[in-house]
Amino acid sequence: MTARTLYEKIWDDHVIERRDDGTCLVFIDRHLVHEVTSPQAFEALRLAGRKVRRPELTLAVPDHNVPTTPRLSEDGTRIPIEDPQSAQQLAALEKNVEEFGIRYFGATAREQGIVHVVGPEQGFSLPGTTIVCGDSHTACHGGIGALAFGIGTSEVEHVLATQTLLLKPSKTMEVRLEGAMSAGVTPKDLILHIIGVIGTAGGTGHVIEYRGQVFEEMSVEGRLTVSNMSIEGGARAGLIASDEKTFAYLKGRQFAPQGADWDAAVEYWRTLRTDEGAQFDKSVAINAADIAPTVTWGTSPEDTVAITGSIPDPSSFADPSKQAAARASLDYMGLTPGTPMREVEVQNIFIGSCTNSRIEDLRAAADVLRGRKKADNVKWAIVVPGSGLVKEQAEAEGLDTVFTEAGLEWREPGCSACLGMNPDKVPAGERCASTSNRNFVGRQGPGSRTHLVSPAMAAAAAVTGRLTDVRELT
């Protein structure tokens, strides 16, 4: 048999039919739904008199719109959402899951959280499965070895009605990390660096597989962080092969297989590795030792630089369009070329998002903040756990106290300040050290200026009030 990549193995296992033009009817194993991209899909089903083919393969949870302030009042009644449109989207989701019989973790459920945190955490996302969601960061689930990608609303409808999608196969791309990471460098730094190297179009049309010893040694949560940002590198999906760590992470979770089923699943998952000699359409090799804690300076996730570096001079870029983009970025960001990154002051700190809101992320941030206080120039600093279960775990470990004693706010789970769709926003013209994944113009609120960083680096910035090399604090 010809040697196949991990992507090809998963793909081949899900093709129902192939049409002459190469389009394939592909089975979808798992479908995640949130309140923003699903209402029109359910509405279309209703209008056409169609039903959900396999309701048990869809899981719904609200995350984008939910405020991260308390949701229940003292007497246990639900506090209504102020923004009428957000409230309407939540109400629509509630009605739809009820009508179509879909498992739902509502805004006040302890399992509620960001859809990409909830999927793996509940054992709903599994290795070797096809996973889709009307959200581009679905790539996240590739961290457990699933082929996971974002889809549009018509496709959400298509999956609900047929449990399939019409797709053309992607090209394959290998990002290979050679050697080991240096101390103080985290998976977030790694993926920021990778995107800086390949660019935001580097993975377009491809599914990236992250390979090398670094990823084998990395925790499952770290792998989720890496895969999450594949979309920022232009790839619709990222993959990291599952292994014993993945299996240990999933075992015993609510929707994970049990008993004999579990053993059969693990046996199958063990076959899901890229074969020796398999060919990738594109290959990039990066030396892990070269990577320092990394931050962004501009308004594109590829605008990365080591914390030890400075703001680049736009004229230093070879490509004239990149020069123009860099000038516009720096103008928006209010930054001057040549300024050391460590002199950039921040007024806001956001620790959260589907990239960095799992327990290990919160532990990393708390380790830096323990016994320290946030700087006075930091006006707003929030920590938003990725799910209710992460929140419970963090509170059991006393991390919430570490945060609040340091002067940070401890919030309810949701997307929060990752995007300006709920009340958590960065004020215009102010800077935020953020553990999220996009530093686009206005992403964290109109006029907001975002620097993407790891949780430890966000915590370090909270302490000093400027972008800071966390290695100097420990």
Partner: protein, 201 residues
Amino acid sequence: MDKLREVEGRAIPFGRKNIDTDVIIPARWLKTISREGLGEGAFETVRANEPDNPFDSEEFAGAPILIAGDNFGCGSSREHAAWALLDLGIRAVIAPSFSDIFAGNAFKNGILTVELPQTAIDRLLEVAQADQISIDLDAQSVTTPFQDRFAFEIDAFRKDCLMEGLDEVGLTLSRDGAISDFETGIRNQKPWLARGTGIAA
């Protein structure tokens, strides 16, 4: 979906290049729960800033065709852009090129995207000022009352779907047997996969 064989009528002459999805429908309209009514927000910034814009003119009210410039629909993947055009009554957009995602979203919602060279676009923009334009999907041509005739290419599958008014969901549902067989295979070979959240149909 309605069958689309011919589109005939006035065409909105909006020949601008690089119209992104934010221009077609600004982000604040994304919080809706319906596909309907988005026409109100379509080209909102253009309408607000340009009193003479064609979208507000009596003459082009209900026009089924939009003529645009290069790279129409670039930017985000929001399907709301296609819904907004549909809500305006537009069934076909003619431009030198489209963003892939927009073209896909348009097709999924029964909007025909026609790619023609800039010279043809220039001529159509001129005609559109006062006269009707016809698109014959079967013949793959755009014609004017003045003997202009421009041929265009279209993917055979998309053409078929549009002409027959087939939506992708309906098409796939007709493959129910193949999907059921595949599901049986999963139940036999990977029984651990079929359970999902455990809520049965």
